[in-house]
Amino acid sequence: MRYLPLTPDDRAEMLGVIGVDSIDGLFVDVPPSARREGFVDLPHVAGELEVERELAGLAARNVTAGSVPFFCGAGAYKHHVPATVDHLIQRSEFLTSYTPYQPEIAQGTLQVLFEFQTQVAALTGMEVANASLYDGSTACAEAVMMTKRVTKRNRAVLSGGVHPHYVATTQTLAHAEGMEVVALPAAVDAEDAVIAAIDAGTACVVVQTPNVFGTATDVTKIAEAAHAAGALLIVVTTEAVSFGLLKSPGEMGADIAVAEGQSIGNALNYGGPYVGLFACREKLVRQAPGRLCGETVDADGRRGFVLTLSTREQHIRRDKATSNICTNSGLCALAFSIHMSLLGEVGLRRLAALNHQRARELKAALEGVKGVEILTPRFFNEFAVRLGKPAAEVVEALAARGVLGGVPYSRLAPGAGMDDVLLVAATETVTAADIAAFQTALTEVMA
């Protein structure tokens, strides 16, 4: 087996050094009833060529985003990632290192995390950010739990614009924690509706902008209402490129900003691994979940970076920890950070403007299709349309015509009574020809 360096001679000699006759002598503590002779019922060792053939065969049965006119979003977005990003994250020293527990020999990872935290704080307009969480949905759930610790209150109010999967992830965790979640009914443009639901027991309100229907909202008034009632405002964003065009959560008064960072530096990967962005006000940081990287000096007074405030964390605090989280999404955070460094402010703003332009072009094309109603009043690169027929069927019919034409809202929330709503996104990867093909196919399907 090509990954196993020991030879039969090595094994025999090593058993001699240990002083046992056979390898079974090292497994004597396994209860006899659980000892298995022979191999489990699975195929045996396979060479690279054989493995490549099988996996390439499976891969070929999927329709890739890059091979067709592609308009899916709803929390995961196809963007172009510079070749440099994937090359650099495959450097051995980044790819095959562990969590930086020994800072003297992990300054590469640690400096990247410090830069990442600064980039995320800048993008979200917040004071500080952590070293990432698993993804946007778990970051949202963790943020809600954090507000319970901060406010000692037990109720969270989520707008009808929050991604239904984020709502479900939060509800799952909240149920276990004994926290009450009030999820308002799905609404294209009603983030403000959370204001009426705030009461004296409300720990936080959660709104999303752009929301799952693509609607961009100024949440300043929601922040004011929340703060007046002693509650915290969590702002969710699933499309990180929007930070290059729209007002940041921090500018609008958010106490915690969480986002899905996949759009920057990371491929679609069928939903994971992604990278959860988590940023908050500095005064809240000791209640924050996840790894934090901080600046310090070494014994010679030279600047260096370490994981810090680890007294919040499970390996120190055990059952008193702020979260059970152990890893972050390190390599995805690295990809995010490299891509963001390449873009810079100039590139990000240009990328964001380009996304918005493509979405406007898409809107112009689709609103001319008979039976299609544009629902989203203000959008970044994604909007909702009403089709007057089940969107899931339309999407299948479009796929049969070689167009991946968006995400039916019913796929996210079957019981919401919005079966005829389709979510469509357009990024910089969409061409004029793609839009024309979508328009043509949709016209046929709607006819």
Binding site: Y3, L42, L55, H165, G178, S248, G271, L342
Partner: protein, 515 residues
């Protein structure tokens, strides 16, 4: 014979110098550059990406547009490459040398797996595109699930947890849901050995359970008498790592499972150490109800400097109905997805995250498993255990094994008795290992062993690399016992940085760059 300058340059020869090595003038250390932060490298108007100009935004976004500076520097491509390559050289990595972090299973990461994960058919597909267009992806998830179930002897697996701790959360949520469904929601206690990973009690507390510790016997196993005394009708579950964090197989594990089930509780097994037994022992044969599998440990998806991981959870028949959505169903005409906790999934406890789990890690783990096969995986466990015992045997005369009698499993645990009187601590010894070219072992964990040093070599180390490691540790042990305290107290001396001031970092946290 004469030489000419033009062909050989100016020959140099080593020159002996007296006294200390002078510090460099720039902060560089030979090839290691003193690399500034991106925020100090300038480039506020620079970009390394060529994009066309877009038309000005409109469409009702007035008042919503960001009109202040964001504060993001940009780098041209050559600058970016140099920045990150320079930073990378300040990291230790499994590709450089044995990385003996106990409990972390730092094994070789095959590059085939990286190549496979980057096939467009896996990396360039959207989690919400029609299932008819991702049949190959669902087939891969289904095949990986089959391998995981077969290797563990368990009937079901929840694929979506994104890391080991996330898997623990999934397992305990399933247990909680099962108890609630059976009218046993009053059970609020979880039992954990004192040697448990920190994530175990943290997870239990996170889902609203209180944690009671189980004592350990002198030979490093769960104390059955103490366990039996603490099991009652308030206990929801026990969380036991097997092989345990002392690197030992829990000999009484079948009895532990029986006692637990007799008390109406579930047995959560922390599968972090599955590498020691994969292909040789099936947790399902031990009475386990739920166990997470760290694909980034046993099945070699790269650790990436701290994630992303993946933590699928195998489940017993009793817990399977409570598994979270979504999951893949294999039927005659292909694969479909169950995505909502309704209808056939009505008893599912909810959802762990937005989509289908760590697909990129699934591809890597499956490529790894397929490459090894049933025979190769069994050899993995045997070689991992052999390597650990070889290290233990080769160091036992100079260091003190925490549990001298009997074999260890995939990791060798030493305590600090052998350092008594030397003035050198476990931490000092570990930091001195850095100077000798090795990453330190896991230190001060498990908590039940004084000054613990937990060494996990894994199966992907050659005899030569093991001997090189053993040689280095024997030299260091000799130096400690010979009174060379200075070699340890100030260590590391030869790393990119010296010891860092973690106290200062925590006292006045500086978590971001500021102008």
């Amino acid at each position: 014979m004469s030489t000419t300058m033009n062909t050989v340059g100016r020959p140099t020869a080593p020159v002996a110098t007296a006294g200390d090595i002078p510090a460099t003038l720039t902060g560089a250390r030979g090839l290691l550059q003193d690399e500034a932060l991106i925020f100090e490298l300038g480039g506020w108007n620079k970009t390394g990406v060529d994009l066309p100009e877009a038309a000005d935004a409109d469409e009702g976004l007035s008042g919503l547009m960001r009109d202040t500076a964001i504060g993001l520097p940009g780098l041209s491509e050559p600058e970016a490459v140099r920045h990150y390559v320079r930073l990378s050289q300040k990291n230790h990595a499994i590709d450089l040398a044995l990385y003996p972090l106990g409990s972390c299973t730092m094994k070789h990461n095959p590059r085939l797996n990286e190549k496979m994960a980057r096939l467009g058919g896996f990396s360039d597909i959207h989690p919400l595109q029609p299932v008819s267009t991702v049949q190959g992806a669902l087939a891969l998830i289904d095949r990986l699930a089959h391998w995981l179930k077969t290797l563990t002897g368990m009937p079901a697996v929840a694929m979506t947890p994104k890391a080991g701790a996330h898997g623990e959360l999934c397992g305990l949520l399933a247990i909680k849901a099962a108890h609630e469904a059976a009218g046993q929601g009053h059970r609020k206690t979880v039992l954990c050995p004192t040697s448990a990973h920190g994530t175990n009690p943290a997870t239990a507390a996170f889902v609203g359970y209180s944690v009671v510790e189980i004592a350990q016997t002198d030979d490093g196993r769960v104390d059955l008498t103490d366990l039996a005394a603490k099991l009652n009708d308030q206990v929801a579950a026990i969380m036991v790592t097997n092989p345990n964090t002392c690197g030992l197989f829990e000999r009484d594990i079948v009895e532990i499972a029986r006692l637990t089930h007799d008390a109406g509780a579930y047995f959560y097994c922390d599968g972090a150490n599955f590498n020691a037994i994969v292909g040789r022992v099936r947790p399902g044969d031990l009475g386990v109800d739920a166990m997470h599998i760290n694909l980034h440990k046993t099945f070699s998806t790269p650790h990436g400097g701290g994630g992303p991981g993946a933590g699928p959870v195998v489940l017993s028949a009793a817990l399977a109905p409570f598994a979270p959505a979504p999951w893949v169903v294999h039927q005659a005409d292909g694969f479909r997805l169950v995505e909502e906790a309704v209808d056939e999934a009505a008893s599912a406890f909810g959802r762990m995250s937005a989509f289908h789990g760590q697909m990129g890690m699934f591809v890597r783990a499956y490529a790894y498993m397929r490459s090894h096969g049933a025979d190769g995986l069994r050899q993995v466990a045997e070689d991992a255990v052999l390597n650990a015992n070889y290290i233990k045997a080769s160091l036992s005369d100079v260091m003190s094994p925490a549990f001298r009698d009997g074999p260890c499993m995939h990791e060798a645990l030493f305590d600090d008795r052998w350092l008594e009187g030397t003035g050198v601590t476990t931490l000092d010894f570990a930091k001195a290992m850095i100077d000798e070219g090795f990453h330190p072992m896991t230190m001060y964990f498990p908590l039940v062993v004084h000054g613990a040093m937990l060494i996990e070599p894994t199966e992907t180390e050659s005899r030569q690399e093991l001997d090189r490691f053993i040689h280095a540790l024997r030299l260091l042990a000799g130096a400690a016992k010979a009174g060379e305290v200075d070699r340890f107290k100030g260590a590391p001396f030869h790393a990119p940085l010296r010891r860092l001031d973690e106290t200062q970092a925590a006292r006045k946290p500086k978590l971001r760059w500021r102008a």
